[in-house]
């Protein structure tokens, strides 16, 4: 675990000296501010529900950009040789990378707490759905970042990693549509597998353990696969 934190720490430092983190964070917050202002102006409702709902779509693209560098760049620069010959297990490397990106994302969400804060000034929002909404955003973001880590392990090229990440995420986002084609009982399975079917309850103020378990399972599966991909690199 100590090794994981060492790697995560290095990753966070690397984010804060690279322009990508600032550009992505700024874009994320700017878009969120736009949604927030527009929704507030037209709906006159003191809620984060619709803003967060819109941000999930933005997150689809933001997550792979945050993770594209993580393993791809190590492989391109040859620094992966350093990590894999240090007394560190492969999964510690993968988990450290993931935690690094999750920390940056959590910081972005943290800054965006400014919006609900504004709501408490201009109105009287129900804090429960805001808290659960942010928990949902963190879990969804974690799942998307872990998928990004997985695609980053597959290539040496950051752009390829990002594009693969978006494709994988979009496919897993829309997989529920397959359910409409097949009908019951498979439709339930496809709906459960879709990334897009598990965050609405959070935004409404409900934390359903099934949704929590779903996102944690996606994270575990993606990181497990990324570790295996890293291991197979040794066999080439």
């Amino acid at each position: 675990m100590k090794n994981t934190l060492t790697i995560a720490r290095r990753e966070i430092q690397a984010y804060f000296v690279s322009p990508i983190a600032y550009v992505v964070a700024a874009a994320f917050l700017a878009v969120m501010g736009y949604f927030f202002a527009m929704i507030l102006y037209y709906s006159r409702e003191a809620t984060m529900r619709y803003t967060l709902g819109n941000m999930t779509t933005v997150l689809l693209f933001v997550a792979p950009i945050l993770t594209m560098r993580l393993l791809a760049e190590e492989q391109r620069m040859g620094t992966i040789e350093l990590l894999l010959t240090a007394p560190v297990k492969d999964w510690e490397v993968v988990l450290g990378k993931f935690l690094g990106s999750l920390t940056l994302y959590a910081c972005m969400l943290g800054v965006s707490l400014y919006f609900p804060f504004v709501l408490t000034i201009v109105g009287n929002p129900d804090l429960g759905p805001i808290v659960s909404g942010y928990v949902g955003m963190l879990l969804l973001g974690g799942a998307l970042l872990s998928l990004g880590v997985l695609t980053s392990s597959l290539t040496q090229n950051q752009i390829v990693s990002a594009v693969l990440g978006v494709v994988l995420i979009v496919l897993m986002w829309l997989v529920s549509a397959l359910g409409d084609v097949t009908g019951a009982p498979l439709s339930g399975v496809f709906r459960y597998l879709a990334l897009s079917e598990h965050f609405y309850d959070f935004f409404k103020g409900v934390i359903d353990t099934r949704d929590v378990i779903y996102y944690l399972s996606v994270i575990a599966a993606a990181l497990f696969l990324a570790t295996r991909v890293l291991e197979t690199r040794r066999w080439r």
Binding site: Q13, L84, T85, P87, R236
Partner: protein, 304 residues
């Protein structure tokens, strides 16, 4: 300290290592000498646990690299061919990261010591991306020394350095040998004679010669080897026959009618050997120069 036996490595159809075996004793500086693509880096990557071998076993300090990889890695310092550095980190930050990963005690002191050893302390706060090639190489070396490992594996440690820095690094490596075991690779011939206590010459995935630098140089300059496979020959008689021939310096009986003879450089004794063997009525199954002659490798090494 290091025991390698029957190591082979395939990359698809390409055989990068063919049955390589050698041992390294504690305190030795072993030099891998060979042209580019000979299998030096592959061997080192297997030793460090970065890649598993296709077959064969490697033990370092008594631990097997495939089954006890983590134990081996704890005892190794490794400088890969392309120095693995993060350009956005400072020299100190990078060494601190590596020290944490390796679980080094008294981190700050060890980092300072390593920086002193490779003379990079005055660049502690410089971004790695701004370092010159020589400083990068030294930083890579500092990283390998950080945890005072029992075994150091250095892939082309002097590449890209200027002549003065090369001398410094060689002195540094010689100084390390007292309490470390060192394996270094190079494709520069003089390097091994100046740094190493023992040399392995490796070519196309095979060890073609082994010995102290002095003995190898002597051999490199004076001999050619021929492999002979006989059928129906009396082994003592054949041996005597070869020994009696002019220009044959040594005869090596490999058993089962196989011999390797060493001839003076620049002479080709094959026609004579063939005639003599046929005159005795023995079957001559095989007669060929052994692989690439050392002379050729020597040329390749010195011209590259």
């Amino acid at each position: 300290m290091i025991h390698v036996s029957n190591l082979t490595k395939h990359y698809g159809d390409f055989q990068a290592l063919k049955n390589v075996s050698f041992d390294v004793a504690k305190g030795e500086i072993l030099g891998f000498l060979g042209p580019n693509g000979a299998g030096k880096t592959t061997t080192m990557r297997i030793l460090t646990g970065y890649m598993p071998p296709t077959s064969g076993t490697v033990t370092v300090a008594g631990y097997d690299v495939t089954t006890d990889s983590l134990e081996v890695r704890k005892r190794l310092g490794y400088l890969p061919e392309t120095v693995p550095l993060y350009p956005e980190m400072t020299v100190w930050g990078y060494l601190d990261f590596m020290a944490r990963l390796r679980g080094v005690d008294k981190r700050e002191r060890r980092i300072d010591e390593a920086m002193e050893k490779v003379r990079i302390a005055d660049h502690a706060d410089v971004m790695i991306g701004k370092l010159s090639k020589g400083y990068r190489q030294r930083l890579g070396l500092a990283q390998a020394l950080l945890h005072d490992p029992e075994v150091l594996i250095l892939d082309e440690p002097t590449i890209g350095l200027d002549p003065r820095q090369i001398i410094e690094v060689r002195e540094l490596i010689r100084g390390l040998a007292q309490d470390h075991t060192v394996i270094l690779s190079t494709h520069i011939l003089p390097e091994v004679s100046q740094t190493c206590t023992r040399v392995l010459i490796i070519n196309e995935g095979e060890i073609v010669a082994e010995g102290t630098p002095e003995r190898l140089m002597a051999r490199l300059k004076g001999a050619e080897r021929i492999f002979i496979q006989l059928a129906g020959a009396d082994s003592d008689e054949a041996r005597r026959l070869f020994q009696s021939m002019d220009g044959i310096l040594a005869v090596d009986d490999k058993g089962n009618g196989a011999y390797e003879v060493e001839c003076a450089l620049g002479t080709d004794k094959r026609p004579e050997i063939a005639r003599a063997v046929v005159n005795r009525g023995w079957g001559l199954l095989e007669l060929r120069p052994v692989g690439m002659s050392l002379e050729e490798i020597f040329l390749k090494l010195t011209t590259e």
